[in-house]
């Protein structure tokens, strides 16, 4: 990997992770992270949309004047999301049914128009694809981690209903870590999503400051700017 691609990739996955640092797309993140499989499904769909919307925006950057770029991006993203929706309906029907309204709502994920505006609009197609892939995978990773946390705490299982994503053989993937687990309702309900996300953000900040050689006290509270706190 060329250094530029490497930094684009690390940037999207870690430095400005959509869910944990930029805090964009929180609505689907909180709503769909009940299980690993739901999170993975939405994460992959969002990644697909990001890759193709970034590619389309990058390709059109020569013909779009600044004053019409936003409506054009909205058109592009809406088309890509609808195409993704149709494809999922055709090939992953059961998953599509489970994710329901959150598939068309990918349109409203600010991370997508954000990457179009901040990156794809001023970069060549290949780096733009890479940026979409990295951002999407970063989002997907957050969804899967949060899903794992909530599924494990809430139901004592992992990868339940994996057949929704992987077809029939996926049904064997379910792991019941604790037999006769009574269930922990808080983790399944929406408040559990907030607690889980808070824990993940704290964990990411801790690791980030450790790697940067700072003490955790100076860690940055998840914000859009990654400039070290001067306080």
């Amino acid at each position: 990997m060329k250094p530029a691609y490497r930094s684009i990739f690390l940037d999207g996955l870690w430095q400005r992770n959509t869910g944990l640092v930029s805090l964009l797309g929180l609505c689907p993140l909180l709503a769909v992270s009940g299980t690993v499989v739901n999170g993975l499904g939405l994460g992959l769909a969002t990644t697909l949309v990001l890759v193709f919307s970034n590619l389309a925006v990058s390709l059109s950057r020569g013909i779009l004047r600044p004053e019409i770029r936003i409506p054009a991006y909205v058109l592009i993203i809406a088309s890509v999301v609808t195409a993704t929706q149709l494809l999922m309906q055709a090939w992953l029907y059961d998953l599509y049914k489970v994710l329901g309204i959150f598939i068309p709502l990918i349109v409203t994920n600010c991370a997508i128009i954000g990457r179009a505006e901040a990156f794809a609009a001023r970069n060549a197609p290949l780096p733009s694809i890479m940026d979409g892939l990295a951002t999407g995978l970063g989002f997907c990773l957050t969804l899967v981690l949060l899903g794992a946390l909530r599924e494990l705490a809430g139901r004592g299982t992992l990868f339940s209903q994996a057949g929704l994503v992987f077809g029939r053989w996926g049904d064997q993937l379910q792991i019941s870590l604790i037999a006769d687990y009574p269930g922990f309702l808080l983790a399944v309900l929406p408040p559990g999503a907030f607690f889980g996300l808070g824990l993940l953000i704290a964990g990411r900040n801790f690791l980030h400051s450790r790697m940067a050689g700072q003490s955790p006290q100076h860690a940055i509270i998840g914000g859009v700017n990654e400039t070290p706190s001067t306080a």
Binding site: I68, L86, A90
Partner: protein, 218 residues
């Protein structure tokens, strides 16, 4: 090139409009193409999903007609107020009525409508009941789902005479059906809807099986 005064010349405006139109055109063409490519498959998937649900209520070896297509949809405000649509799927063997599955919406859940399938044999006994979509509270009301509890399976084999009409209610209301721990409203809505479906069936059985099929949207 990037002039800072928008609308400075009509030439720019025209070019912008053209560019936007082009984007819209490409997007529409792409979607039309993908829709054409996926249409057949999506229809097949929807059909498979509906048949899988119906199959839980009427075993495939009990009928020989096209269960999915032998259906019609109606509204009847006397029985199902509020203009709620009911779809009836008819199972027949050698042309004889075997069972009907009513796809209906139970009002009065704790958290909105409960979408259900109620399967009824020609003799008026229930083949079973399934909930296909609901918004009840996770951990409490969702014991409706077969994956969470066997409560819903308790309807199989029941009819208007088993229990007697006064028993067609949840325990708290003096009936024979359990409520689940911490949730009375959800099971009450389901029990009422099932009873209603049975009463409707017994009053309109001839019509339900005689009505010609009208395949439309599933």
């Amino acid at each position: 090139m990037d002039s800072k005064q928008p609308g400075g010349s009509t030439g720019h405006a025209w070019r912008s409009a053209l560019a936007l139109g082009l984007v819209a055109l490409i997007g529409t063409a792409l979607l039309a193409g993908i829709q054409q490519l996926t249409r057949k498959r999506i229809e097949a998937q929807e059909r498979r999903a509906v048949l899988a649900q119906l199959g839980q209520l009427v075993a495939a070896d009990r009928y020989d007609n096209a269960l999915h297509d032998d259906r019609f949809t109606f509204t009847d405000n006397r029985w199902f107020p509020g203009g709620r649509e009911v779809t009836v799927y008819r199972a027949r063997l050698h042309g004889e009525a075997v069972a009907a599955v009513l796809k209906l919406v139970a009002p009065g859940g704790y958290n909105g409508d409960i979408h259900m399938l109620v399967g009824i044999n020609a003799d008026g006994t229930l083949t079973g009941v399934r909930v296909t979509a609901h918004k009840e509270t996770p951990g409490l009301g969702d014991a409706l789902e077969t994956a969470r509890s066997h409560w819903i399976l308790g309807f199989s084999g029941r009819s208007l005479s088993d229990p007697q009409p006064s028993g067609w209610a949840v325990r708290r209301d003096g009936g024979v059906f359990d409520q689940f721990t911490g949730a009375t409203i959800t099971p009450r809505a389901v029990v009422m809807a099932v009873r209603q479906a049975l009463e409707y069936f017994s009053a309109n059985k001839e019509m339900l099986f005689a009505q010609p099929a009208e395949p439309g949207n599933p």
